[in-house]
């Protein structure tokens, strides 16, 4: 893959940042609340897309189960919100427990009374679960398609678990957050939603810088090495298991944060976050945006979700066709994604095809090595 990047002037970069920050600050006043809320949700989804890009774009692990970690983060946030605003209900426990005749709070709810614990749990619990699943799978050198279908199976298992346990976490109904209180204000209220939007925007930028930092330097090089030729990395003396586990749990943590932000902005967390299609959708955001380009993951998540809401509002039935076509098209015609295409040789090749730019002569051996063919 060509790593050539367009070098920007410092002034342009600076003005880009100023415009971006101005837009984020101004967005709540410019947009109606409904659209603002949607934008906030898409931005929070772009954090999980960053995680997918880290594990798939950089490390070559296609996880179809990021929904697990996304939903775990969401559940952590929702449990805290439910428990802090449950003082007026019988037994001081969330309302839904009364429906199933539960009188005592299940033990794992207790720690969520503490805001500090919740704040940590939102990203540490998903990261730990991801680390555990990842370690058990990577340890045995299970990879490629096997890894993908195992993650998908574990997604379904978590879905079944959360869906079936009414008495523990309200089963298929999920946990509502929009009528709960946070700092004396309703979570679903406009002012809170505005704050959540800002938090999301800041966290997206923070997550982007974090991801950039992760893939920089030797650690990032090893990740790319694992993607391109894992046996060689192993023979060079590195243990790929450790690196894969670390990056998988980082992606899990990012998914957890994303899930928590998404939950407070959509007003509910339910096992629907763990359905198979949703987790695969996350992959397609990254694929369209451009895998291996972190910015592409963010843009892909925001734009595809925006397109989805536009299309679903106009022609509900056609979204599935469009989405299906997008999967096929991006994989067969645009494997680098839109941003990867722009950053790579795409525009030049296009101009060459129309005779607008002179062809660059290269030795055949210098041609960029497209695909190994049988590396997996």
């Amino acid at each position: 893959m060509s790593l050539s990047k367009i070098k920007f002037d410092k002034k342009i970069v600076l003005s880009f940042w100023i415009i971006l920050i101005a837009l984020i600050i101004a967005a709540p006043t410019l947009l109606p609340v409904f659209r603002l809320n949607l934008l906030g949700r898409y931005l929070s989804l772009s954090i999980v897309a960053l995680g997918v890009d880290l594990i798939w774009g950089y490390t070559g692990l296609l996880s179809l189960g990021q929904g697990i970690f996304f939903a775990l983060g969401g559940y952590c946030a929702a449990m805290y919100l439910q428990i802090t605003s449950s003082s007026e209900f019988p037994n001081n426990i969330p309302e839904f427990f009364a429906l199933y005749g539960v009188e005592k709070l299940p033990f794992f709810w207790e720690p969520f009374r503490s805001p500090v614990f919740t704040f940590l749990a939102i990203w540490i619990i998903p990261a730990m679960v991801a680390g555990l699943i990842g370690f058990l799978v990577f340890r045995n050198r299970i990879k490629g398609v096997y890894f993908s279908i195992l993650t998908q199976a574990s997604l379904l298992v978590f879905f079944n678990f959360f869906n079936g346990q009414q008495k523990l976490i309200n089963g298929t109904n999920g946990l509502k957050t929009d009528v709960t209180q946070l700092f004396g204000q309703m979570v679903g209220s406009e002012s809170m939603q505005r704050i959540f939007f800002w938090i999301t925007a800041i966290l997206v930028i923070a997550a982007w810088f974090f991801a950039k930092w992760v893939v920089k330097g030797r650690f990032g090089n090893i990740l790319i090495g694992i993607r391109d030729d894992e046996p060689r990395v192993r023979f060079t003396g590195y243990n790929p298991v450790i690196f894969k586990t670390i990056i998988f749990s980082i992606a899990g943590g990012l998914a957890g944060i994303s899930g928590a932000l998404y939950t407070v902005q959509s007003g509910i967390v339910s096992p629907q976050f763990m359905t198979v299609p949703f987790s695969i959708e996350m992959v397609i955001w990254v694929a369209v945006g451009g895998r291996g380009t972190l910015l592409g993951a963010i843009l892909g998540a925001v734009f595809i979700n925006y397109a989805k809401s536009l299309v679903s509002e106009a022609l509900p039935a056609s979204w599935m066709f469009i989405q299906g076509g997008l999967f096929i098209l991006v994989v067969t015609a645009l494997p680098e994604g839109v941003l990867g295409w722009i950053q790579g040789d795409g525009p030049r090749n296009l101009l060459q095809r129309f005779g607008l730019k002179r062809k660059i002569e290269t030795y055949p051996s210098l041609e960029v090595n497209k695909k190994d063919g049988n590396n997996e």
Binding site: V157, V283, F321
Partner: protein
């Protein structure tokens, strides 16, 4: 004893659905290293084929043969899903050879399109489309070799596609005008009713078994035997096994790997269609019917490994029996006086969905000892 027999039979019944569904997936995965995420939707097509066949057999001309529609639909489902699979291989999967993860995503896209297709296109025209695909793909291969080798063959091919399109539209409109249920698109689930000879129960050693379940076991048995014979006795079967073992070497020795890929993918998809017939006997048929079984199929493939069909057979029956043992809480009745904490745990997992959780955990534990499944593909490659 009776209880054990009951459990065994139920387990075999669950396992045989899994087996016939996973068989095609396992063969394709073994050969090409790709997992077809649209496999569940090919099953759905098979199930809808059964439904369409049933309605067509209710027409006055075919009414006397109504009771045999299920047998006919097995073959039709094999052909329908096989044709769609071949088209899939020719248009998409072949282009992605060597990148299995991309294939996974592309086939997911196909599965979305197929799901929406049965929702928004009337089944009659869907049938017409399949008929035209069938003619378009296979008519050119029946031409005499003199035409095939001529330069003008592409015009023959083109004209056969035009003929195919006409036939498709014609048959679609004939079906839609004669069977009113098929003329409108609907996202609602439909029901396949078993013919009279398959309703009711059979008594074996004092226990009553539903006949539909027995029929599914028979379908599975026939599929497995047929596929084993094909792979082990026929010339193409030998070629398939050769390519599975070493693709490059087989290519060098003159086996057309392209043809092997098409044949295998067609057979794998066709088996998905046969599985669809079995599934349609168990419950109502809807656009999402395949999704319920697909993850079970993955588990079978992961557990069984790709080296041997026996692995697939053992894995599906193992998973089936375990599902029944755990999901129905049978362990408790077999061993009534077990210690309390253990029996509490078993009760906790004694639903179908929780049984899946348990079985997945067991499979992950199993993989810690045998990471490549029961019968791994042997080789000296660094990757395997």
């Amino acid at each position: 004893m009776e209880l054990l027999l009951d459990s065994l039979f139920n387990g075999v019944a669950i396992g045989s659905v899994l087996l016939v569904a996973a068989l095609g997936l396992a063969i394709v995965f073994g050969l090409m290293g790709v997992i077809n995420l649209a496999h569940g939707e090919l099953m759905m097509l098979g199930a809808y084929t059964t439904y369409v066949t049933q309605l067509i057999f209710k027409l006055p001309i075919l009414k006397p043969f109504y009771n045999s529609y299920i047998i006919v639909s097995i073959f039709l489902a094999f052909i329908v899903s096989g044709v769609v699979g071949i088209l899939l291989e020719k248009t998409i999967i072949r282009k992605l050879y060597g990148s299995p993860l991309e294939t996974l995503l592309a086939t997911w896209g196909v599965s979305l399109i197929l799901q929406q297709f049965v929702r928004s296109v009337p089944l009659a025209y869907g049938t017409g489309l399949v008929i035209s695909l069938l003619i378009g793909l296979f008519l050119p291969t029946t031409f005499p070799s003199k035409i095939k080798e001529s330069i003008n063959f592409k015009y023959f091919k083109f004209s056969s596609w035009i003929f195919a399109a006409f036939t498709g539209v014609l048959s679609g409109s004939v079906i839609s005008s004669s069977v009113s249920k098929l003329s409108r698109a609907s996202a609602r689930n439909v029901d396949v009713t078993a013919p009279s000879w398959m309703r009711g129960q059979v008594e074996i050693i004092g226990t009553a078994f539903p006949k539909t379940r027995l029929m599914i076991i028979v379908i599975t048995l026939i599929s497995v035997v047929a596929i084993t014979l094909f792979l082990n006795q026929s010339a193409w079967g030998m070629r398939i096994r050769a390519v599975t073992q070493n693709r490059q070497m087989s290519d060098c020795l003159g086996i057309s790997t392209e043809k092997v890929d098409i044949i295998t993918f067609g057979i794998g998809s066709g088996l998905a269609g046969v599985a669809g017939v079995a599934v349609s006997l168990l419950g109502s048929v809807g656009p999402n019917v395949g999704g319920n079984y697909i993850v079970g199929c993955f588990m079978v493939v992961v557990l069984g490994g790709v080296g041997n069909l026996l692995g697939t057979v053992l894995a599906s029956f193992g998973i089936g029996i375990m599902t029944d043992l755990i999901g129905a809480g049978r362990l408790l009745s077999i061993w009534p006086d077990m210690p309390l904490p253990l029996s509490n745990t078993i009760n906790f997992f004694a639903t179908t969905s929780m049984a899946r959780v348990m079985i997945f955990a067991l499979i992950v534990i199993f993989l810690q000892f045998k990471p490549t499944g029961l019968f791994p593909q042997k080789g000296r490659m660094v990757e395997s």
